[in-house]
């Protein structure tokens, strides 16, 4: 599925991916970044952590929504981040009186959500508390999914909403529903339109790639932190390439 079809771009792409992976692994060996020390503070995730602690104490629950990313689509990536972060959060709240509810907008995401929930409960030695209804598909179209998730937000004594995935404009309904019940909403997406909506309606929006950092901040896995470091390195490289290319173009060199 090459965009340009030329051999040079393929080779460059392969080098890019290989370097990225290598740097991720090497960074893991050299240094594991730690939130609060090596990673810049993200108030959204700090508030989420506080809210989760309060949900357990107050007898309410956490709601995680994974969006409606297709399984064979780049939008799936942010859903996977949501799954990893969700798994870690559910591990921490497995003993809560009210379990975490995970909603999804597509069938594959619903299956993955259940699988991750089961793993999280098993990791927390609470396998007996897992129920299949904790992970559910609320709708197969964008607005039906939003309406179903809205019913979870309003009716299931939710204290905090963690919306991380691929959303569209329908996310506004979900965030609006949480406003009336005084619940915290931390949301992030890869969709630019949804991000604009979340900036206005969510309590703590995750802008841009901050949603991809949520795994590192909640301690979802080994390589999450080093992925952030690698992303930062390549971001600087891209900035340099863009600025340099623009200068070269301006100067007429190339």
């Amino acid at each position: 599925m090459s965009v340009t079809g030329s051999g040079v771009s393929d080779i460059l792409g392969l080098i890019f991916v290989a370097l990225f992976g290598l740097l991720m692994v090497v960074s893991r060996v050299l240094k594991q970044p730690r939130p609060g020390r090596d990673l810049r503070p993200l108030p959204a995730l700090n508030r989420l952590r506080q809210a989760i602690n309060l949900t357990v104490e107050s007898g309410r629950r956490l709601h995680v929504s994974l969006g409606r990313g297709e399984i064979i689509h780049p939008r799936t990536a942010v859903a996977f981040v949501g799954l990893s972060a969700m798994q870690k959060l559910v591990e921490d709240t497995a003993v809560s009186d009210r379990p975490t509810i995970v909603t999804a907008g597509t069938g594959p995401l619903g299956i993955l959500a259940r699988s991750s929930l089961r793993s999280a409960y098993a990791a927390a030695n609470q396998a007996g508390r897992y129920r299949a209804t904790y992970g559910r598909v609320t709708g197969l179209t964008p607005f039906s999914y939003a309406a179903g998730a809205l019913s979870v937000v309003r009716d299931e004594t939710v204290a905090a909403n963690f919306l991380v995935g691929s959303f569209g404009a329908e996310v506004a309904l979900m965030t609006d529903g949480s406003q009336d019940d005084d619940t915290l909403t931390v949301a992030g997406t890869d969709n630019v339109v949804a991000q604009a909506i979340l900036c206005a309606s969510a309590d703590e929006p995750l802008i841009g790639e901050e949603v991809f950092a949520s795994g590192a901040y909640v301690g979802a896995g080994m390589l999450h932190g080093t992925s952030l470091l690698t992303q930062d390195i390549f971001r600087w490289l891209l900035i340099a390439a863009m600025v340099g290319g623009a200068l070269i173009k301006m100067l007429g060199v190339w």
């Binding site: 599925m1 340009t4 079809g5 297709e70 689509h73 197969l140 964008p142 607005f143 969709n191």
Partner: protein, 756 residues
Amino acid sequence: MVNEMNDTIRCPMCGKPNSADAEVCRYCHARLTPLQSSDVPLPGDPEINAEEPESALPAWMRDLRDESSDALPDVLPDEEPDLGLETETVLDADTSADASPGDALWRETTDDAEEEGLPDWLKSLGDDTIADAALLAAPEDEDTEDIENTEDIEDTEELSATVEESAPQAEDNLPDWLQADAAAEDDAVATFSREDESALPDWLAAAGEAESVSGAVASTGDDLPDWLRAEAGSVAEDASADREDDSALPAWLAEGKDAALETAAAAGLPLPQEEAPAPLEPGAEIFPGDIETEPAETYADLDALEPVNAAEFIEAAQPPQPFVEVDLPEDLLTETPDWLKLLSPEVEEDLETSEAEAMPALMGDVADAVLGDLPPWLEAMRPVEAMPAGGADEDAPVETAGPLAGLRGVLSLPESSLTRPENLGAVGGRLVVTDQQKRQVEALQTLLAEEFVPRAAADGKKAKMPSNVLRWLLGLMLLAAALAPFLIPSLRVPPPGDILPAALAAHQHVAQVQPGQPVLVGVDYSPGFTGEMESAALPVLDDLLTRGATLVFVSTQSTGPGLAVHLADRTVGAETSHIFNLGYLPGGMAGLYTFARAPRMVLADTPDGQAMWQTPALASVHHLDDFAMVVVITEDTATARAWLEQVRPVLSANTPLIMIISAQAEPLVQPYYETNPPQVAGIVTGIEGGTTYAAMDGKTSPARMSGQWSSYSYIVLAAVLLMTLAGLYNLAIGWKEARARREMPDDDDIIEDETS
């Protein structure tokens, strides 16, 4: 060992004090007083006359009878409890082949003893040396409760082996080794009566045997073989070593020990040097060997004792009695140490009611009592003799008080560290409360009191009213704005004057489509965006259909085929022969990729089973590039990018790609139009684009488009107006609240104020 001060007896087994009247130790149930001979009445034996001539009794027994005859506590029950003891268990010996000769002897003797009592040689001996040996050689019987110390058993076994070999012999019934020493039997120092020995623990019996051995050695002297003489000497040494204070031993035992020493000395045996006994360590046990024995006269008195049937003795043996409360005589209290008196209940009551200043004085009295007046047992533990002669430091001061009085070189404590109560601060029950603590207590009390004070609940309805009213107002305004252009045509607004270049380009490309040419239309928007997307797409589709193009719908979304039919039904002049619906293309980007390269393979027929590719309109289409145009209708930028990335590469310059998108996606799709060469041939954006296109084309109903455009414009204007006014209002309130929050003291500031 009788404590003359308190009239208590120390148990020879465990060393714990018992009443002088007790016959068995109340802790370990060892016999405190030796059993009397047969002419001494046994408990529960009514036939025996207790009024025996006292001359037949040993002195110590006479003394005991005189002292305790009137005050003998009735600690022993009249009836003997049945413990289920069997004489056989005591008398059974190990019949295995590994049994020692002593065991065999025991078996020979005990069989007779069961029926006829002791054998004659044993009776004639007057002592029970063999019986003791047999007893000692007998296997450990768990029922013999007199034996408490297993170490003593091991010791006694060794001694018994020695005794077996060296015990004086009887006459003809005795084994040879015993017969050889039968002559020494008469002169041998009798140890104890058999009754006493069987009642005494084995260690004590062994000690008596040791004495008897030493006595036998003393009497026979030259008749003893050298090895026996050495053994007797060692036994004598053991008996005299680690001597305890005479006052701790029963009189009869102390006399026996002295007698053993005297006889050993008379026999010319080396006597152990008298050394000062090692100071007793706390918790040290007093072993039988530490106890001094009684003088010889005691043993001579025991010669007159007759042996007692073992079976009778065992029956008469008192089972261990449960602990019985005994009222101590009042005079015991007079012997209480002073320091103990101070802690009597009466004094404790006084302490509770007294003021705090009395405590130090009282504690001072206690300290003086402890330091100044030591109890005898503690006094005896003072290591005065242990100090080396001359002392380590003659210049060192001599300790004058306490257990170490008279000693030099004692580490002296500084005066301030002495635990004298008067040096301590006043330790009273008065709490010192600071002002801060008082404030905290008051705050806590206030909090607790407020818990029970009912508070009026907040009126939730009242709080929700403003937000609901605002929402209703917003809704009504927007609804009015939406309906007004349709209800009042004069309120309609003119169409957009400027035509966007992208829309113009799209119109130009559509104009190049020839009749009958197939056009691929990708319907990839969600049902919620139907209003905007239909407004944007219908003018383009109407233009295409009007030009005679064949529309082929395909969708990568599950709702796409239905939307395609809905869209097709709303076009102007639609003919079913010119519209085909390929249906749903699964797989997202992967599906697009494969469809772009092999459309016939991926979607062979329509969902209705119609062989679309065999129709004349599509017979020439084998690749995506064979289409005259590709039109993508979507509201999502990601979907638009997917079509651009997966389908555009397989399209040639002759097949333009037109995008009909929502206004929200325009900023991100516009750059694709502005590239060189442009990847998107034309863009029609939302209602504005559709209105503009319809105005250019003129095929879509102008009225409808005008109504939609006007309604859209009025709604947007209403929203802008509301947002501006309400926004300014909320901005003012928000700044005010933020200022109030900044002026409020922080939690940290409150804590600092309290602590300062």
